[in-house]
């Protein structure tokens, strides 16, 4: 039996777990969050929203299907560190190209295995998300904790620029081009423009720092804001872009971080959740139909908006369109113009669903419908 070298995990409140090194050797710091999906570790690892976060997988067996070249949601692994219980020794899938351990090592991702991930998860649930360090070099828990306390916090972190594409690129429409959309990359996932392209949308992906002029210069039919890491309270640039677009009645669609930016553009606040939503089993209700969708979530912040009434904004009437049935967190916003027509909307969860269920894929159709209606009028 091959045993991997020891590793140490310490939370900022001092709780420590001793396990074994997984992936690269070294030391890493970030915000400890837990993700409850039982499938889709490859998508999770490569989701830019996890930038600067150390992800704890609650599913005990990770790496069973290895690593393939089709499923990554971006060009690299973004998580700051990885915590699992039982890593696979031998992957098994006809699509697998290499093992996850190998991939983590190659990409320099420090991880830890063989710890009581449930105990850690319960701790984070009760005490909230907090900073964490993993080390294969430091064996003294108190010493590692001091380093953890020196590492930056997530609250107030402006991270979109760190994960965004350095230069614009275009994802062409599949088949006939029906619409042109500008997507602001705050940490966009591969699957998102693909879902739009499937619907005849040509997607111009711009860096997070793009200006209103950059956007409008492309004469798009709609504006899209992606998911991404960090505290939405810092995203003043994107908020300004959205407001300018809304003033021009440009159809809008936002996902996750994009939902928070949309909320801020409409005048709502945002706040940090105790331990966030990270899983692919979350029940969200569409308040207009009463239907429940099982959805993929990955958010530590949320929009603060009233559930019981609509809100007048300079761009029309805004209301909470979707809500999480587990805890009533705002999961979607809808904006209607003076005529009552939907002009922009956003969801806090992930209709592109990678990983996750496809229940909410209709939202991409809805975006096309909104653009279609706007074109006609």
């Amino acid at each position: 039996m091959t045993t991997r070298p020891p590793a140490l995990l310490v939370l900022e409140d001092g709780r420590a777990f001793r396990g074994r090194s997984y992936g690269a050797a070294g030391e890493t710091f970030g915000e400890a969050v837990f993700a409850t999906g039982m499938t889709g570790y490859q998508e999770t690892l490569t989701d830019p929203s996890y930038h600067r976060q150390v992800v704890v997988q609650t599913a005990p067996h990770i790496g069973n299907t290895g690593v393939n070249d089709d499923d990554p949601e971006s060009g690299r692994i973004w998580v700051a560190g990885y915590v699992v219980r039982d890593p696979a020794r031998r992957p098994s899938s006809w699509r697998s190209r290499r093992g996850l351990d190998e991939e983590l090592t190659a990409q320099g991702v420090v991880g830890i295995s063989d710890i009581d991930t449930r105990a850690l998860t319960r701790h984070l649930r009760e005490r909230g998300a907090m900073r964490v360090g993993i080390s294969t070099v430091e064996t003294d828990a108190e010493a590692l904790r001091r380093k953890v306390l020196d590492s930056p916090e997530m609250l107030g972190a402006d991270l979109a620029a760190e994960v965004s594409t350095p230069s614009p690129y275009v994802v062409p429409a599949e088949g006939e081009r029906r619409f042109t959309v500008v997507a602001l990359d705050l940490g966009i996932k591969t699957m998102t423009p693909r879902r739009m392209a499937e619907r005849g949308i040509e997607v111009h992906v711009l860096p997070a720092t793009a200006t209103v002029d950059d956007v409008l210069g492309l004469r798009p039919d709609g504006l899209f804001l992606s998911n991404g890491p960090g505290d939405p309270a810092t995203a003043d640039g994107p908020v300004g872009v959205v407001q300018a677009a809304l003033e021009r009645a440009l159809p809008f669609f936002g996902i996750c971080f994009g939902n928070q930016v949309f909320g801020r553009a409409l005048g709502f606040g945002t706040y940090k959740l105790g331990y966030g939503h990270r899983g692919i089993n979350q029940p969200v209700q569409d308040r207009s139909t009463g239907k429940v969708e099982v959805t993929a979530h990955n958010h530590g912040f949320a929009v603060e908006a009233p559930l019981d009434r609509a809100t007048d904004t300079p761009y029309g009437t805004a209301e909470v369109s979707h809500v999480c049935l587990n805890d009533d967190v705002v999961e979607g916003l809808a904006l209607r113009d003076r005529t009552g027509r939907l002009s922009g909307f956003s969801v806090q969860y992930h209709p592109e669903a990678a990983a996750g269920p496809h229940d909410a894929a209709y939202l991409f159709d809805r975006f096309a419908d909104v653009m279609s209606a706007a074109k006609e009028s």
């Binding site: 020794r89 998860t121 099982v294």
Partner: protein, 1094 residues
């Protein structure tokens, strides 16, 4: 959407007796459903012929009909009760088929009964292969290439196209009955022929072989607002080709990426919508080609299934309960998740542990049967285990099977790698053990993958286990690190002891000294995202325990483990009753069990549930954890059958308080010598007997007693290894086999009482007063295992004097043994002598039957007595009748008849023939039914209708009897002739009948082929449906357990033709009474509540 207000009463159909493919999972689901419906204020009417179920307890439904689940009887219930709706999706295939039959007969329309859950159209679409295939195509899915056939010619034509091997699947049968894999035309003719017979629509499906593909199941739930969730994914370790009920399975799926899983999820949802199951649960099965990922939908069940019970236990999402609620119109978001209390049921459970289910087989009971696993389910039960990784869960599941060869073996010499790789190509019970042996012998994962098509990930996990084992064996000293690593991978103390050449006690001592103890985690549906308030625990060698401290005194109830022949739902029933009674009495009840099918492992049944193997190690750790949580009054071992009873002594030695009958008293009753002394002291006769530790001893005892003798190993349940032997040669043969069956215990040799009436008694004793719960008179003679024998309560032929003697004897035994709680005694009345055959100081298989027949909750009372309450105060409380007991039942008490249900139709010999159907001293029934009515004849007729199908009231009877039985059958056969039956008989039998004035048509004794004049033989006539009743008693002697061959062909044909076959003279007498009752009057139905009011 709130619940519908247009329904006030609902008829629920149960699943009837426990059979292979349909076990107590439907008691679990039905009980949940009935509770939900009643809580909603609806009047619940229940039909179920199985008295051993919790659902037939009179307080679960408003009107409980323990009546046959046939369209005829259910129609009578509908006519009487006029329910608004019928819920048939929770009672297995039996309930679903009955609902379809009621619809087809126009009964539902005539009485205005609405089918809720799944409509007739949806059932048809889901179950009819042709329409289902069309639906799958419409939603963009794929099915295996296939052809529907209605005749053998169709089959032969279709196979030209599909090529061999082909899979044969009959429509509308449960548990895959009648299906199989045909490799050539001979196979095809045999399997498809049987399949066409088994299908009520004479329809089979032939399809391309997807043998060896990965196999998955999804459990889906839908509400009337079209919200759909996937409750659980299950992956079969044994790939396609082995019935999912016979596979080792894992939840959640282990070897799918999210992309593949989501495609499966999308298709499952599309299927449930297209089939149109408006509300409720469905099970959908998939196959995945491991080489390219091609996904095929195998089938769907538009109802709650065995897998949904497993999924409920695996996830904490109670599928049947939610199915009942959505059937009433609630939507999933309106239903709270019980476990978290805060979140709704409209989510998908996520697991932070691994669940493994392992099947329990009973091939030892059917030595002639082919043990190859196929698409035709053969297992009789299952165990489930939960661990924090696959290795831990697998090892726990395997040791939960409680078979000496259940757990993986890392010690014995493995054998030759090449031989083993060849051996494991064939799937059979215990294959995983041999895969491990092959790995130990040096076979590679790749070689084994090629041979078994078990996914390499699972094989690598087995390899990991062998590596851990090697390390344990190799280290000079067992360090904390190595020990912890081994425990983390599920190794038991016993396995480690074997590896280290020491005892389990020593390992336990070392482990405890090092502080290496399991922690208890919680099944919470959400991977700890939300706090769980339901203490549903499993052990793991991890860091943090979640057992909460408590104030109230706890009673720990040990369940009975996986269902097996001889130990099944009846014991679970008693455990559940104890939990209910003791909770009510103010105790905190703690259940320990590992059977996912049962009511006892519902998190609602006890205050705390530990889903754990019932081994000494696992139980001691639970006891320890609970002792740290608060005061523990003791452990109940006498309700779960032999499994917990077998732990009693070791638990007591470890200082665990056993409540009720003490381990010393249990031992006294089990030990022949000391029990003999108890009988001698009380002046009670027992058949002459002796205890032999060698063949020589056994031969001497037999010579002294005189043949025939009954031989068996001591400490067994279900008559395991029990045989009647007639001479020294067969005795020698038996000893050779039996001592292997039970190495630690000697063999008991008893005089066999020919022609005795066997009597079963269940009683309760508090140290002072005896409450005689029930006296049952067996219908079959002594020598047939009591579990396989039909019996009547009250006894039909015993007088007051005999009952008085039974009471005195039972009390003397209870006192002599020192019983506190339940006692079961078996007597044989031969001549005028009441012999004591055996006494068991524990709950017996008949406790639920007695409780249903007399309306007295015997197991509840027993639990209270075990904790010190007297029978007198239970009488005051009203739990027991104020005065009297089963000896003085009122004269107008109804007669209840219990009949056993046999699994013979499930087994085939390696050459494809049905195994023999004779009854003997070794128990082989899987379940039971009850018939209840005013008179014995009617009650017996109902029991037969429930167990096998209605007795004929006219037609043709075929009679073939052993010489010794001919005298006894003249009168009943004459009676049948007088009633107008045509009698066919073999020449000897016909001659005896003719001399006694009964004309019988003589048929040849050689059955096979055609008569010389070309007319079919009796076998042909039976198969053609020309015979309505068969009476065949076996001749010859039992030799070494091999079936008495004479008459075998006849009994086989009876099974194939589904024709009632009576194999004892006493059974014939009872059947004649039943037939007379059926002819004399229209048989009515009556609820248990109505009988109780009388």
């Amino acid at each position: 959407m709130p619940r519908r207000t247009d329904i006030d009463s609902v008829l629920v159909i149960g699943s009837g007796p426990i059979v292979i493919g349909q076990a107590c999972e439907f008691d679990y689901s039905g009980t949940q459903a009935c509770r939900v419906l009643r809580a909603e204020g609806l009047r619940v009417i229940l039909v179920n012929s199985n008295p051993a179920t919790i659902m037939t307890d009179p307080d679960i439904a408003d009107a409980t009909y323990v009546e046959p689940i046939t369209p005829e009887f259910v129609e009578k219930v509908i006519a009487l009760e006029r329910p608004d709706a019928l819920l048939a999706t929770l009672g297995g295939q039996t309930a679903l088929n009955t609902a379809v039959a009621l619809h087809d007969r126009g009964v539902l329309e005539r009485f205005g009964v609405e089918l809720i859950g799944a409509s007739i159209d949806a059932i048809e679409r889901g179950e009819n292969r042709e329409s289902f295939k069309k639906i799958v195509e419409e939603i963009g899915g794929e099915t295996a290439r296939s052809a529907i056939c209605h005749s053998m010619d169709d089959c032969l034509a279709a196979v030209q196209d599909l090529g061999y091997p082909v899979v044969v699947r009959p429509s509308f049968t449960m548990g895959g009955a009648g299906s199989g894999m045909a490799f050539d035309e001979e196979d095809l003719r045999r399997i498809a022929g049987a399949g066409l017979d088994a299908s009520p629509t004479t329809e089979v499906l032939l399809e391309e072989s997807i043998l060896g593909w990965k196999e998955y199941e999804l459990e889906v739930m839908r509400d009337r607002a079209d919200n759909v969730v996937i409750v659980c994914s299950i992956e079969n370790i044994d790939p396609m080709g082995v019935h999912t009920g016979d596979s080792v399975t894992v939840a959640p799926a282990m070897t799918l990426t999210d992309r593949e899983y989501q495609v499966m999820r999308d298709q499952a949802i599309a299927v449930i919508r297209a089939v149109g199951v408006d509300t409720g649960g469905c099970n959908i099965q998939f196959a995945v080609n491991p080489d390219d990922g091609r996904l095929i939908i195998i089938e769907m069940n538009p109802r709650v299934s065995r897998s949904s019970a497993l999924a409920s236990k695996a996830t904490g999402f109670p599928i049947a309960k939610i199915a009942a609620k959505v059937a009433l119109g609630y939507t999933l978001d309106e239903i709270p998740n019980d476990i978290t209390g805060e979140t709704p049921a409209s989510f998908e459970p996520t697991l932070d542990y691994v669940v493994v289910k392992a099947p329990r087989f009973a091939f030892e009971k059917f030595p002639a049967a082919d043990s190859t696993l196929t698409t035709h389910m053969k297992s009789v039960g299952e165990a489930m285990a939960i661990g924090r990784n696959f290795a831990e869960a697998l090892q726990k599941a395997l040791r939960s099977l409680e078979k000496s060869d259940g757990a993986l073996d890392f010690v014995s010499s493995p054998g030759d790698a090449d031989d083993l790789v060849e051996k494991v190509r064939r799937p059979y019970d215990g294959r995983l053990r041999d895969v491990v042996a092959a790995l130990r012998a040096g076979a590679s994962v790749d070689e084994l993958y090629e041979a078994t098509r078990i996914d390499p990930w699972f094989l690598d996990q087995l390899l990991l286990l062998t590596e851990v084992a090697d390390e344990v064996a190799a280290v000079p000293q067992l360090t904390p690190e190595v020990l912890r690593e081994a425990k983390r991978h599920g190794f038991s103390d016993a396995q480690l002891a074997a590896l280290r050449g020491t005892s389990a006690e020593v390992i336990r001592g070392v482990r405890h000294a090092l502080g290496i103890r399991p922690v208890y985690k919680t099944v919470d549906t959400c991977a700890a995202e939300f706090a769980a308030r339901t203490p549903y625990h499993y052990s793991s060698y991890d860091e943090e325990t979640e057992v909460r401290p408590r104030e109230r005194e706890a009673v720990i109830i040990l369940g009975s483990g996986p269902n097996r022949i001889g130990q099944g739902i009846e014991f679970d029933y008693s455990c559940v009753h104890a939990a209910m009674a003791l909770h009510e009495a103010g105790y905190e009840t703690v259940m320990v069990n590992c059977n996912p099918e049962t009511v006892s492992t519902d998190y609602d049944t006890s205050d705390r549930l530990y889903f754990e193997p019932l081994t000494l190690e696992d139980v001691l750790e639970v006891v320890d954890a609970e002792r740290q949580a608060g005061p523990v009054a003791g452990v109940i071992v006498q309700l779960g059958g032999q499994t917990p009873l077998g732990l009693a002594e070791a638990l007591a030695e470890a200082g665990v308080p056993i409540v009720g009958t003490s381990p010393a008293a249990i031992d006294l009753a089990e030990d022949r010598g000391s029990f003999g002394q108890v009988l001698a002291d009380a002046g009670l006769p027992a058949p002459k007997h002796g205890t032999a530790r060698s063949f020589e001893q056994a031969r001497e005892i037999a010579a002294d007693i005189g043949y025939p003798v009954l031989v068996r190993p001591s400490y067994v349940l279900g008559g395991r290894g029990m045989e009647i032997v007639y001479d020294d040669a067969t005795l020698a043969d038996y000893i050779g086999r039996a001592t292997q069956a039970s190495p630690e215990h000697p063999v008991l040799v008893d005089r066999f009482l020919d022609d005795a009436v066997e009597i079963d008694v269940d009683a309760l004793f508090d140290g002072d007063e005896l409450y005689l719960g029930g006296v049952m008179e067996h219908i079959e003679e002594a020598g047939i295992h009591s579990g396989d024998s039909a019996c009547a309560l009250p006894p039909t032929t015993l007088g007051h004097d005999e009952l008085g003697r039974i009471r005195t004897s039972t009390e003397a035994i209870a006192r002599g043994v020192g019983v506190r709680g339940l006692l079961n005694v078996q007597y044989a009345l031969a001549g005028d002598v009441l012999y004591v055959l055996e006494a068991n100081p524990r709950a017996s298989r008949t406790v639920p039957f007695v409780s249903k027949a007399t309306g007295v909750p015997l197991a509840k009372a027993a639990a209270r007595v075990m904790l010190g309450t007297t029978i007198a105060s239970l009488r005051d409380e009203g739990l027991l009748p104020a005065t009297g007991d089963a000896v003085d039942l009122p004269a107008d008490s109804p007669v209840a008849v219990k009949e056993a249900v046999m699994p013979f139709n499930r087994f085939r010999t390696p050459d494809g023939r049905t195994v023999d159907t004779l009854l003997g001293p070794e128990m082989r029934s899987t379940g039971e039914v009850m018939g209840i009515d005013e008179l014995f004849g009617t009650a017996f007729a109902k029991s037969q209708a429930a167990a096998f199908g209605e007795l004929p009231t006219s037609g043709t009877v075929f009679v073939s009897l052993a010489n010794r039985d001919k005298r006894h059958m003249i009168f009943p056969v004459k009676r049948l002739a007088d009633l107008g039956f045509t009698i066919l008989a073999t020449s000897g039998t016909a001659e005896v009948l003719r001399r006694n004035g009964v004309e019988a048509e003589v048929v040849r004794k050689r059955w096979v082929g055609h008569e010389p004049d070309g007319t079919p033989t009796i076998i042909g006539r039976i198969l053609a449906g020309d015979v309505d009743l068969i009476i065949n008693t076996p001749s010859g002697t039992t030799t070494g357990g091999s079936p008495r061959a004479d008459g075998y062909e006849i009994r086989r044909a009876a099974i194939q033709g589904g024709i009632p076959c009576i194999t004892t003279t006493q059974g014939l007498a009872a059947a004649v009474q039943g037939i007379e009752a059926l002819r004399a009057e229209s048989v009515g139905v009556r609820s248990l509540q109505s009988w109780a009011r009388r």
